[in-house]
């Protein structure tokens, strides 16, 4: 189970990284989102993978580690704010520069 989980994290990371290396803004934003999924999964797994043990007191004794969960929860929300910021920056850049290349140079490549 752990091996499969780690493989998934790795594949998502690789795909996200590949997209961040692209030359246009939108794929980079998508890549960042993908990367943040992978990072969240990675962080989440730092407490180990627990089945049927939500960290709610008095539902048994086998609790999942609540600390990574709390950290990832805020990370998800912040990740959304950052995605929103970057994508709107990309829109703004396109309206100012005239193209959606990540280097933000004025020459029109379209």
């Amino acid at each position: 189970m752990e091996l499969l989980y780690a493989m998934t994290t790795g594949v998502l990371t690789a795909c996200g990284l590949y997209l961040t290396l692209r030359g246009r803004t939108f794929p980079v934003v998508v890549g960042l989102t993908l990367l943040s999924y992978a990072v969240n999964l990675f962080l989440f797994s730092m407490g180990g993978l627990t089945t049927d043990g939500p960290a709610i007191v008095s539902e048994g004794t086998n609790y999942a580690d609540p600390l990574p969960q709390a950290l990832v929860l805020t990370a998800i929300v912040i990740g959304f704010a950052m995605t929103a910021f970057v994508v709107i920056l990309a829109m703004r850049a396109r309206s100012e520069v005239g193209n959606d290349h990540v280097d933000g140079k004025k020459e029109d490549r379209e």
Binding site: Y5, F44, V72, G79, A81
Partner: protein
Amino acid sequence: MTLLWIALLPLLGVLVPALTAQRGRSFCSLATAVLPATALVMTLLNVPALLDGEQLRFSVTWMPELALDLAFRLDGLSLLFNLLILGIGLLIILYAHYYLAKDEPFGRFYAFLMLFMASMVGISMSDNLILLWLFWELTSLSSFLLIGYWSYRSDARKGARMALTVTGAGGLALLAGLLLLGDMAGSFNMGDVLASGDVILADPRYPLMLGLVLLGAFTKSAQFPFHFWLPHAMAAPTPVSAYLHSATMVKAGIFLMARLHPAIAGSELWSVVVSLVGIVTMLYGAWFALMKTDLKGILAFSTVSHLGLITVLLGIGSPMAILAALFHILNHATFKAALFMSAGIIDHETGTRELKQLGGLKKAMPVTALLTTLAAAAMAGVPLFNGFLSKEMFFTESLATPVLGGVSWLLPALATLGGILSVAYSLRLVHAVFFKPAREEPPKTPHEPPHLMRLPVEILVVLCVVVGLFPAFMATGLLELASEAVIGSPLDFHLAIWHGVNLPLIMSLLAFVVGIALYWRHGNVRRFTQQFAGIDARRVFERILISIGYRSEQLIAALEGNSLQRYVGWLWLAALVMGGIGLVQITDLTGAAGNQPLDGILILGAVMLMFGGVATAATHRYRLISLLMLSVVGLFVALTFARFSAPDLALTQLSVEVVTMILLMLALFFLPQKTPRESSPLRNVRDMLLAGTLGLVIASLNYAVMTRDTLSISSFFVENSKPGGGGYNVVNVILVDFRGFDTLGEITVLAIAGLAIFKLLNRLRLFMPHSDGEGRVWSPDRYPAVLTSISMTLLPLALLVSAFIFLRGHNQPGGGFIAGLITAVALILLYMARGVAWAQERLDFPFQPVAVIGVAVATLTGLGSWLFGHPFLTSAFGYFSLPLIGTFELATALLFDLGVYLAVVGATLMILANLGKVTTAHRPVTETSGKDTDAAAATSSAKEPR
């Protein structure tokens, strides 16, 4: 305690001119002088204690982990320097009062001056190596401000920059040296360091440390080859030159060498390096002082020369040489400050400092002429002046020292040569300005300055003469204390004018005879040297700076060339290297805990996740499809959280996923629908290789961590969740209670991001396509009827659910974050179904304040615990019972969670609703057609009603 005040008063004095500058210059000058005068008196009040042999120390722990203490000492050496810094500083304030023009911002000048004075006093009194370095850097900064005071002048700016670069670079070297020194001595306390000279000398790192410390000292004290900044610093107003470049700052390097003398001076390396650098500096400076035609230039180079002389003495290092060095520090400060101020007076009253335009001034300025002549006589070393005494001592020591081994005879010979040059340039200074007939008219008609402007010069010249006449009476006490502080034991000496006819006296006489002859013939010498092209130190310096800048730019261009792709590539490569290093150190990838069993559902989920990820990357040129694939990943991530016992995460991920997708769809509408094929196959392969390898590293690290039993601090949270935080849902209790400060920071970031986006959308001009990438026009169906009717029914239900989720959050999965997102989704659905205009009418308030209020509520809840004497964000809870409803719990954490809820709702709607509004407010009017309307409709927004 008085020690702290001596060090602190000048620093407080920085505020005085800033506060009193409006009250007029006289008031401001007087007020500024009060605090340093107090510090001076306090220093003097400590002298009896010093004479009794008391150890005056003050120490408070400041940052113990950096070995930094606020520690001051007052010993003989500090006393000598404090008297110079504060005493001459006061004279400079008086002098500057008259020197600065009427319309110049004197308040700023005084403030800089006080800052400088405070940092010099700090250097002189520091009892901690790091503290000393802090003040050292402060002198570099404040002298930069002072040299560049006339910032409208290019030479002032360039001179200031050069001084800062040279002394700042030296300061960095000094920091490294002092850190090494403290490490070698095992303590950063000055007393401990000075006492462990033997350990330091025996340490193999001694040469490195010595080199670094000397680099700091030499740059500060303008020793060859770092002397070049000093003449260019003459672009400063003359009070600054008189203060910084005669009495104080350039002496900081000398001071450092004297201060650390017991700890680092006992080696042959020290003697050879320091005395050689000193002698070269002395001759070089003296020679150029003779060649310069600018009054301050002459003085600047003569300062370089005299600093060299003191350095030689410190290099020789015998007790009597130390005494001579200290004595010359005192003497040089007095006569050089007097000379600088005289030069300033001449400049002030004639309008020029060029020797060519000056001459015959003894008629117009008889008193100034007399004062300057006396000070110059002290500089030349004429008997009965203070300069003579220390120069004789210098000659004596140069004869006695075996520092240079077989060529030690060279030292007295070169010393005599220095004496000759010194006599020649002093004579030239006086003769050319006051006695020789003028060749050209000066710009202004010269006359005597106001008497009070001359007063500082008079005081200093009187000191020169009195010390010269009665050295034993005037200077012995001070020098006894100072030399004891440097040497470590009392020194038995007797200062006298007449030692009988001996070799040093003959050297002096020789210096006078040859020096006068040299000045008499110096026209020929000048003509001879003018055949050689001079090197302009500033040009060379600027050229070096420009070339460094150019090289750096080239390097950056070669590495990343303003390309984000290459930049990101380097970033990932660095991550790969770092992660790889960590991975290599693991001996066994699979840890002791091993794998848990798999089942079919898990495999299916993992396959879907991988498929979604790969598909997102593979279809990235078709952006809409790529986005759809991304949403598959997002949903399966939510399912993963649910599967592995994280219901809160699953709920959050699910609602964020919805919001993110709406946002990205909306954004995609304004961006090209397809990505052109730009990357070369080679580049694609390279990127895939980099991303794939890093993915592999991440997967391995993840696997390695998961299969090991890790020590977790989480049992604390589980155990204390109910008794400490009053909630059963540990994740929520962590968010709102245990780590509430983190959450507060995060919702603040969220609100700031929302505000930033609001700002970015302001006046955004967008290109609005009327068809999709394939050329198909958008659907004419403005608002789908099904969605419209469902959204109306759904809204109250959704709001009810979010209220439920919010309230139960403390004990069951849920909470402010999730409830906020659900509310936001419900409202956004309304926008999508009905259009911006319709929703705007019914939600007639801006969302920015909602987010801000949310953060405010959370903060105030945290602050509220202060009222009950608890730390920030301590939560309280209690149980109450009402008839009919029963017992229920109220916790302040709930209030905090309400803040979170409001911040999330406000920020999310601020982002999405404002982005939606963009499509309506800035619609290009000329292109309005049926198709455009459709476009707006399809992106869930509407035209403004017309």
